[in-house]
Amino acid sequence: MKKIPALLISLFLITGCASVAQERSLKNLPENEFSVEIPEGWWKPNHINKYFITKDGAFLQYVLIQQRPIDLPYRHTKKKLNKGMLPQEAAGIIIDEIASDRRIFNFDVIENAPAVIDGHEGFKVLFIYKDKKGSAFKTLYYGFISGDSFFNLRYNAAMRHYFEKDIADFEHILSSFKVVKAKAALQIARDR
């Protein structure tokens, strides 16, 4: 019996901390060499140390924006991006990386096309997949190479309902995206 009050107190403390951790704000977004406008209602989970925002929770939809050193190896393919690559070739490597991920099932590319992001020649890939539990997701992935960096913006959402619901917000984020000079962003990305 002694243990029960202690357990309740611990539970109270833990849930108290959890609600603080889930505070819905855009605090602590990492610095990068880009800027974007984020529509109202989006927030960054505190435990994710990336430029990662969601509206209803990461499992339902998220936008992830990354600036990654061009020579940084990928996890699932040994192929590497390089400066001289055509956007189509870069898109091919991203597709290979995702398709080789063993946590991704029923992967299927719906569209693979050129795209211009903030004036940069890039690509957009629309794909669908399922996770291990069989939940279906749809992702719209934009990317381009600029200097020593590969920039990418992806919108991932549950295929039913959520993808269509928030696609306009992502398009707003995408159209507001600008590459800007910032301090040692590449070093930050490398250290991460």
Partner: protein, 382 residues
Amino acid sequence: MKYLALIMVVWCLVAGCATPRPIPAISPLTADEEEQMIWRRAQKELDAINDSGMLYQNVEIENYLNRIAAKLHANSISPGFSFQIKVIKDPSLNAFASPNGVIYIHTGILARMDNEAQLAALLAHEIVHCTHRHSLRTLRSIKDRTQANNARVRELAQLLGINGSITSTSGYTRELETEADRVGLDLAIKANYDPREILNLFELLKQEIELEGIEEPYFFGTHPNVRQRIENVNNWLSEKYRGKITGIKNTDVFQSKISRLVLDNARLDLRQGRFFVAQRAVEKFLVIKQDDARAYFLLGEIFRQRGRQDDAAAAIKNYEKSISLNPSFPEPHKAIGLIHYKDGEKRLAKKYFESCLLLSPETIDRAYIQGYLKLCVTNGEG
């Protein structure tokens, strides 16, 4: 992944050094409640695999594999056990058995094999995991240890689902693996396969693991490690089977049956950027089927995507060979167009891009090609 890591930790804690409580290996297969629970859990996992798009669908290969399994199983301790062999699209060197008799073989390991005797050795090993009920024995061993020694570990194991199905994706204890090797070797010999081929398979894969720096997979993994397994097999062959080391290899039949799979798996290797392994596989395929346009195209892709010095020329040579074998195949046209486009040879690029679109107007990357064609024209080379 977090859970996987935790499971591995618990696994090491409770099972890693354990000698499982032996159950009579020849006991009739009457599944008790515990075993039924394992099978039910296994079936759920298998349903997930079946729906995942991971299965390599080729009835001819599946029938072939099932025939060999049946031949091996005929001499096993539980001939009533029902086996089903399936193939998973995965270039890694692995195979695993579900406790209810479904054996999965990765395309990666099948593609590396040379003959049917090697395949028989692998299948026999996995069959023994099922007939000798290694999942159940592992579960009981965990329960024994945790009940006797560590209730907290037991709780954690239950929490993480270790009491559920234990398919051997992560391997069993050293003793059970050795048993699977030893009894598997016996099954292969009784089915008249050349038992020395298991050694050749071990060697082949050991070389590749070293060459590619591949993470050593479970089948050739560390329980016991591959060197110990080679030594064990050598000892058994020289002691128990002295003078009986003969048997069939069925090299030609095997290679003809799995040739298409070799090519398909090479695509997966290429996807993962394993250029050398992919190249070797396509070259192996071309020894069997010399006039395959898709194989030459794939070889061209390997060179183009690797992008070393002189690779572009080697790529074009293979693409041209592919076109000569099948002029209506659009992919090599597009690939040659890309190489010329990047080299600034816009006139040549245009010619190949146009022929690609003519052959395949709805190709998925037509938007890129249309963009290149516009630039070819605006650059005054139209």
